[in-house]
């Protein structure tokens, strides 16, 4: 048994490619649980970061620095009365959040956290991702319609028009990145998510910097379109609270409402993962070809441990700075334990990094590699997550006609132009 598990850790391909259904299922479960936890953490982080942008403190009461707030929120939402308006279309109202959630989570089956750290390496990976994430709008549309109320209906109409419009620019930006994958010896590109990252590795450059500024413009287009796709500020017209109270989920409450939130955050992470995969080199650490001496390898593999050590340090500072009133005793202990936990994780990661570097133990080496891949991937994704919060704190909301104008008259021509120029440059370079 142990042998089986350890041997799997050393597998160089994804469970999907290996045809191993059991491992695929385990991966799916890990990803589902992991994404749910990350969404909860994101919830806390967003509230905290937004609060600090806005000179507030954010959640402070539940647990030290509000660390347990997401759990309290989740509990509250689960225990809340689940209200279905009497005039609503009961079945569609019931099923709408599930559609959104399913679409958001299905995308994760093809996201490559590493060359073998994915459920499956689909041949049409990026196409599948775009297709499935476009299904998410069905959840919003049906939710808005089923509520049988004006504000949700307008919200649903807005969001469907918005998503359909921005998908076009988004798709064209993606195609220009896919074109770049074909600039190799055989002349054939790939739609596979893992293949795209490997193409960047072979060409020795992130597609962000390829044919500068072409890749960069395509990336910017995608970065804007993905905010619109996930209905986040400044494109959050579907749930514009100052105009449509809460848009498409005005009539939703409790668990069903939280499913919408879960889907929204999961979709945010998913589209960020697409951007990272296509333009930021996916799981690759910085300069994998340039700084490829073993010593650099070792230094970069220390980063996960250092990150956790830094987080532990922050938690420690927080523990020390906690007011010395007896009221804060439990909080102080809690934060201290949390700091110790982070420090312990850092220690384990450090150990893995050192053992994996020095020994010939292939399992340790592969574990270290896997941790590196996932770490760099998540780090890049988290930059986008931070940007999402930053946008929300900074910008006002677009109006619907302006949104459409930007989508069709600015983003679409630019992405088309970039696509054409990329194709021409690609042919010339060849």
């Amino acid at each position: 048994m142990l042998n089986y598990i350890t041997s799997y850790l050393g597998s160089p391909v994804t469970p999907g490619q290996a045809g191993n259904q059991l491992w695929a299922l385990i991966y799916v479960l890990i990803i589902f649980a992991g994404v749910s936890v990350v969404v909860m953490a994101m919830n806390w982080l967003e509230r905290k970061a937004l609060a600090h942008f806005q000179i507030r403190l954010g959640p402070m009461r539940v647990g030290p620095h509000g660390l347990l707030q997401p759990i309290a929120d989740a509990l509250k939402l689960m225990l809340k009365e689940d209200i279905i308006p009497s005039e609503a279309d009961q079945f569609v109202f019931w099923v709408a959040p599930l559609i959104g959630l399913l679409a958001a989570f299905t995308v994760y089956t093809v996201i490559p956290f590493g060359p073998s750290q994915a459920v499956s390496d689909m041949n049409i990976g990026i196409l599948f991702m775009l297709g499935v994430s476009s299904l998410g709008v069905l959840g919003i549309v049906t939710a808005g319609w089923a509520s049988n109320s004006h504000y949700p209906l307008i919200g649903a109409l807005r969001s469907s028009a918005q998503m359909v419009s921005y998908e076009v620019a988004m798709g064209l930006a993606v195609v220009s990145a896919i074109l770049m994958t074909s600039l190799n010896a055989t002349g054939t590109g790939t739609l596979s998510m893992i293949g795209i990252v490997q193409a960047q590795q072979q060409q020795g450059i992130w597609f962000l910097f390829k044919f500068f500024p072409l890749g960069f413009i395509a990336f910017i287009i995608f970065a804007i379109a993905m905010v619109a796709e996930t209905n986040r500020a400044p494109f959050d017209l579907a749930e514009a609270e100052s105009e449509l109270t809460a848009g498409f989920h005005t009539e939703y409450s409790g668990l069903r409402w939280s499913l919408f939130m879960l889907a929204e955050y999961a979709a945010m992470i998913a589209v960020s993962a697409i951007a990272v995969t296509l333009w930021l080199g996916g799981w690759m650490r910085p300069f994998p070809n340039l700084l490829n001496a073993p010593v650099w390898e070792f230094i970069f593999s220390l980063f996960p441990a250092l990150t956790f050590a830094a987080l532990a340090g922050f938690a420690l500072i927080g523990t020390v700075r906690m007011p010395s009133h007896s009221f804060f005793k439990i909080q102080r202990i809690g934060l201290g334990v949390f700091a110790l936990l982070l420090a312990f994780i850092a220690l384990v990661l450090l150990l893995i990094a050192i053992v994996g570097h020095n020994s010939d133990n292939s399992i340790a080496a592969r574990t270290r590699e896997g941790i590196d891949y996932i770490y760099w991937f998540m780090l890049k994704v988290s930059i986008f997550m931070y940007l999402f919060i930053w946008y929300r704190a900074t910008w006002p909301r677009y109006r619907f006609d302006q949104l459409m104008r930007v989508g069709w008259k600015v983003m679409l021509p630019i992405s088309l132009g970039v696509l054409i120029v990329t194709a021409i440059v690609g042919v010339v370079v060849k």
Binding site: N123, I124, A156, M163, G187, T188
Partner: protein, 183 residues
Amino acid sequence: MNPAMNVGAAPVATPWFFYGLAAAAVISGLLVITRRNAVHSALALIITLLSVAGLYLMLYAPFVAGVQIIVYAGGIMVLFLFVIMLVSIERASKERQFNRIWPVGLVASCALLALFLSAFAKGKALLPDRMMQLPESTNTQQIAAMLYGDAGKMGQYTFTFEIASLLLLVAILGAVIMTKKKI
């Protein structure tokens, strides 16, 4: 050989998947035509389309499956719903659904049934004697080769494909002009 790796063993596409997907497609297809509420029909149609996409995947045609999802389920059905939502559901649900053209429908379904029966009677003679082992990884490239040709040569369907895209472009322009009084 790594014991965890059993490449080339039983593919994911087992008969059970086929039966499940086929049943989903048929049942939701029936729902499409029996539901009085147009939105319910549309949702059932989405399930049908997704099941068919799953069947394409089983046929080692992932590109077609992806296009099926992205174009039909993600694009066209959203527009369908968009339109249906603006129509008065209360009135539409009271209207008779089986109207005067039912003889035409009957003839069409009879013809289709005859086709199915003949295929069933001829049996295996029509089908390849074993499952085609198309490599999944090259399916998309084969489509590309058909459309654009291998390494510089003109593909088999390049002209047709370009004509079709031109036709679509004209249709788009026509739609824009028809809906918009001044541009």
